[in-house]
């Protein structure tokens, strides 16, 4: 009886792990797309609104869903007058604290990391160019992420169950 219960438990956790992995594959391109939209919005705020960076990030955060909402909001908060942090440090700190909660991977993180060095430090034209570059890179990553999704989303679901089954067979 106890054996049966254990076997079911292992199968169940294997399946869940598979589904979780599949969801990661599905949400990565979605989040990259959201990030691209956010950067395009930022570019508009800079060009036409002359909005200061903290305010612009806050506005963007309001229109975003989690986990990007917290990422942008945190960055804006870190730029507050009390902290004494630069835009670069604020962005990198927020990146460090919030990145794990996203489904995105290292290449996207690197794009934001690079952007943090220039954001807010030059004139409008230069800012737009840098944001544009980041958007292009993200679009490339988005395409890769979609390929991965098509390839691995379904497989991960079945693979979770199968690995669970394998462990059960090996143990008993």
């Amino acid at each position: 009886m106890l054996k049966l219960f254990g076997a079911v438990l292992i199968l169940l956790s294997g399946t869940l792990a598979g589904f979780h992995q599949a969801r990661q594959f599905a949400s990565r391109p979605k989040q990259i797309r959201e990030l691209i939209l956010a950067l395009q919005r930022l570019s508009t705020e800079i060009t036409y609104g002359f909005t200061p960076l903290p305010e612009a990030l806050r506005k963007i955060a309001d229109q975003m869903r989690e986990p990007l909402h917290t990422f942008f909001l945190n960055a804006a908060r870190e730029m507050g007058p009390a902290t004494g942090l630069t835009a670069q440090e604020s962005l990198q700190r927020s990146l460090h604290e919030n990145w794990k909660r996203t489904s995105m991977k290292a290449p996207e993180r690197e794009v934001l990391h690079q952007l943090s060095f220039t954001l807010g430090t030059s004139d409008r034209q230069d800012q737009i160019k840098h944001i544009q570059l980041a958007v292009e890179q993200l679009k490339h990553e988005e395409a890769t992420a979609r390929d991965d999704q098509a390839k691995y989303e379904k497989i991960s679901k079945s693979l979770g169950l199968l690995i669970g089954a394998l462990i059960v067979i090996l143990i008993f």
Partner: protein, 347 residues
């Protein structure tokens, strides 16, 4: 500096906006924070130059500051801020958004909360022969603005026309850095709030228009004055004087028009226009005295035609600030010294 600090302290007045230090990056902030209070309270300028000694100016003298917060005249012993410091400073004073400062970069200074101004030096980028903005900014001059409420107490009674219930056309004269702007700011505040405490010569608050070409009088941040310039005061910020005066006359119907440092031909024309429109003009000009003023072609006309009814001559002396008031015919009305209330202040 200590000696000078002592002299000026009694009349220096509190800095009502002492937050300027908060915006500086570490370690400059800590170094300046640890300076003795009597030095910090008379600092007029902090100069931060990349790779060169940190310098403070005040009370007519300059000193370098060491990493241990002591003053020195030896440049080698002084603390030298590195590139990281100027990068951080620029990030902080521009609110992390240099792209919003294009106009400021063209003019060469940024106004920060509290009305303090930070002058910038670096490599300029030209467009069609004019400066478009500054890049590689490596020199900062933090000019600490001081608001001295009551600075104009001593001279105000002489500027009131009791019969006409109005303020007289006034020209404030002095060499640079003697306190004209501080005086003008307090005049704006008092005239705008009304003068109930002057007995027979009490006046209700008047509409005051300030044309603040260099953002010094009101220290505007996003169009809102950082200094108390009175409840009935409108400020045309960062606006060329002559044009701003005409705009004010046309659209804001001021009773009193205030303008800093008139000197060019078109300024004089606008002042004449305002005087004839029944608006009182209170202006300042760089000059050691009325004689000097007569040699300046743009202003000589204004003096000869007797446009101004009062002249206030300011001079900073060792014992404080002296202030002479002359009437329309340039006859002295009253000689005041720095010991009287309201005439002692920092520039």
């Amino acid at each position: 500096m200590n000696k000078l600090a002592g002299e000026r302290q009694h009349g220096g007045g509190p800095i009502t906006n002492p937050n300027w230090l908060e915006l500086l990056p570490e370690p400059v902030k800590s170094i300046l924070h640890q300076l003795p209070h009597h030095i910090l309270s008379v600092v007029e300028e902090v100069r931060i130059r990349e790779g060169r000694p940190l310098e403070i100016n005040g009370a007519g003298s300059h000193h370098y500051v060491t990493g241990q917060s002591t003053l020195t005249l030896d440049a080698d012993k002084a603390y030298k801020p590195q590139r990281e410091v100027s990068r951080r400073l620029l990030d902080l004073i521009s609110n992390h958004s240099l792209y919003t400062m294009e106009e400021e970069l063209r003019k060469g200074f940024i106004t920060i909360p509290g009305g303090h101004r930070i002058g910038l030096a670096g490599r300029t980028v030209l467009h069609a022969g004019h400066v478009e903005h500054i890049r590689d900014i490596s020199g900062f001059n933090v000019r600490i603005a001081r608001e001295v409420k009551g600075a104009a107490d001593g001279i105000l009674p002489f500027l009131i026309d009791r019969e006409g219930n109005r303020i007289r056309h006034t020209l404030l004269l002095s060499a640079p850095q003697q306190g004209k702007t501080t005086l003008l700011r307090d005049l704006a505040r008092q005239i705008s709030s009304g003068l109930p405490g002057l007995g027979k010569s009490s006046l209700p608050g008047m509409k005051v228009g300030i044309v603040d070409e260099r953002s010094e009088i009101a220290g505007c941040l996003k169009g809102v004055p950082s200094f108390d310039v009175g409840p009935r005061t409108d400020v045309m910020d960062a606006c060329p004087k002559a044009e701003g005066m005409m705009m004010m006359i046309r659209s804001m119907s001021p009773d009193v028009l205030m303008v800093d440092e008139i000197g060019r031909g078109e300024d004089a024309e606008s002042v004449t226009e305002a005087l004839h429109a029944g608006i009182t003009v209170v202006a300042t000009a760089h000059a050691g005295g009325i004689e000097e003023l007569k040699h300046r072609p743009a202003l000589a006309g204004l003096i000869e035609t007797g446009m101004f009814e009062r002249y206030v001559l300011l001079k900073r002396k060792a014992q404080g600030l002296s202030c002479r008031i002359l009437d329309q015919q340039h006859r002295p009305l009253q000689l005041q010294t720095g010991s009287q209330r309201g005439v002692n202040f920092l520039a």
